[in-house]
Assembly symmetry: C2
Homo-oligomer: 204 residues x 2
Amino acid sequence: MKKTAPAKDKLLDAALQLIRQQGYSATTVDQLCSAAGVTKGAFFHHFKSKDDLAVAAANHWATVTSAFFAAAPYHQHADPLDRVLGYIAFRKAILQGDVAEFTCLVGTMVQEVYDAHPTIRDACNASISSHAATLEADITAAVERLAIKPAWTAASLALHTQAVLQGAFILAKARGGPAIAAESVDHLDRYIKLLFDHKQPQDN
Amino acid sequence: MKKTAPAKDKLLDAALQLIRQQGYSATTVDQLCSAAGVTKGAFFHHFKSKDDLAVAAANHWATVTSAFFAAAPYHQHADPLDRVLGYIAFRKAILQGDVAEFTCLVGTMVQEVYDAHPTIRDACNASISSHAATLEADITAAVERLAIKPAWTAASLALHTQAVLQGAFILAKARGGPAIAAESVDHLDRYIKLLFDHKQPQDN
DNA sequence: TGACACATACCGACTGGTTGGTATTTATAA
DNA sequence: TTATAAATACCAACCAGTCGGTATGTGTCA
């Protein structure tokens, strides 16, 4: 029975915060250690290198977020389209607080490392792709249930939702707040409703 | 009559390439100098600091891209909706070659600097916003011409197109190629056609 | 025209501090 | 006792930025 969290976990949690705030390159090992309240010796005991921590952080992010979204209430809907729309609404609802709190670790990291650090890039890609895959299942079910014959694939629509969210995060960072991001998510919501001929109250 | 481009221009052009490849923090002043073929003395003669160069690079980016899009053929359409759809098609068409060649400098930079470097963030925001403003004009004209009463604003749709593109760039970086980005742009094209009740051949 | 004053553009060795990483030592638990 | 976890001390490479100096205009006035 541990009294405090082990150094490895504290370092990973610190990485999620600091890298989302500052980016990967600008975040130093010393910053990570002091934020986690551990020493450099502990850092290099658990991680071979800074890049090794980045891969572990991306995998940690995938674990944390998949648990977070698995516990979200939108899964309770019986209709798969309601689950998809519930997911979008949930993504909009959590756009609150500081920008670093609702933005995506792997989306931020992959921008910096995609060319020079293929292993980190692959870990980021795996995190995004596995999250999109959970959505893809509901989209596929919705297509079958409504018996439509779309010109698009469920996989491409699932990834498109991630593109909109990642882009919305960039706008939020440029504008300094989540308001503009929420508007983009509204457009995404409207798009999906149009694709499925979903009834729209006062909309065009 | 100059024989070669002056050091300042060569440094700015080198910044567009290197920062899109590596990100801002990972790009060193020495790298910029050797890529531009100038010395460190020349760098600090023209720029007060590395941050000062970043602001200049963001402004340079705004200048270069606004000239690039102003010269694009889609402006020739008489109908404003055709211009908007022509813009989207053009954005899709230029998704070619290395990832660093078609991605956005300011979208990449703002992810790293939004918190610690407000002046760079503002320069990035200005670049994105001014580009979106050129689109907004055509969207507004299309809404008026077709006499529709949308639940969305032209400004938010213009920014949404930028969000989709920025997010598509992130997916392209994670996947290592432009294919997935093109699919997201296809969704954006489909969305705008649906918003304007545009005829769709075999689409849902 | 030519000489002087001054400004702009550029050079590259150097510095103080920082960085990722290593070597060694100490504590803890099975 | 032994393996794992974590702390301390340290290093070589690297980084942004500095500084003294050179080369090349450019304006001015006799």
